[in-house]
Amino acid sequence: MAAEPIEPGDLVPGYAFPPARLAVDAARAAAYLRATEGEGERFEASGTVPPMAVAALAMAAMGEAMALPAGTVHVSQEVTFHRPARLGEVLISRAMVTRRVNRGKINLMNVGINVADPSDLPVMTAETSFVLPTE
C-alpha cells in the first residue's frame, strides 16, 4: 500500500522523500513519444528514452509522495542530464526539500532530485521550484 502523501507543512528543508523506483518501461516510453511527437526515431533506434522522459517520471514520483494544495504552481525547473536511460531500466529517484520560504505572500519550495541507476551512477539531477498558495 502506498504511503500517505506528505502534507506541505511537513516539507521543510532537509526533508528527504522516500526513494522512488522509476521503471523506464515500453508503455510509458511509447506514451511519452506520442506526447512529444518529434523524437521517436532517434531514441527508438538507440533503445534509450529522451532525457526529459526520466525527468517526467521523477516529477511524477515526487508528486505522488506529497499532497500539494490546489493552486500550487510549478514555477521553474533545472535539469542536468548525465546519461540516457535505457528502455527496461529501473532507476532510483531521491528527492529532498532544499529550500522553503514562507513569508507574507510568498510560499516557495525547492526540491532537489537525483536519479541514479542501481549502481548509484547518476542519470539525471534536477531542481524544481513551486509556489504554494498562501492561506
Binding site: Y32, P50, M52, A55, A60, H74, S76, E78
Partner: protein, 139 residues
Amino acid sequence: MNVMTIHPRELKPGDRLPALTRRIAQERINAYAEASGDYNPIHIDPEFAGKTALGGTVAHGMLVLAYVSELMTAVFGESWVRGGHLSARFKGAAYPGDTVTVSGTVTKLEGNRLTCDVQVRNQRNEPVILGEAAAEVPA
C-alpha cells in the same frame, strides 16, 4: 536553417538556433499524463479546468519543456543527453490549439561549452518558458 544540418562547432555567440514549432493538442496532453503519471485535472479534465482561473485545460509545463530538450538534442545530439543542462522558468500556460515555437540564441562559448538563451512562445508571441541551456560542443 535545417536543424539536422547545423553543427554546434559552427555556432558562436549571437547565432540563432533553428526554431522548432509544435502544436499543443489535448490528445498529446493526455498522452503526457499517461507517460508521466501526472493526471492533475487541470491538464486532462476540461469541465474541471474550465471552472478555474485558467479557463480550460493546459499542457504540463514539463511537456512544453520537453520541446526545448528536443531542439537541444537535435542541435547537440549525444552531448545533450550526456551533460546537457537546462534552466527554465515557466511564464505562461500553453492551451490545446496553441502553437508554440522554441527558439534559442547562443550567448556564450566557454572552452568547449556553449550556452544558449532559450524561449518558448505561443502564436501571440507571449512567453511560455524562458531559460538557458548549455552543452558541450561534440567533437
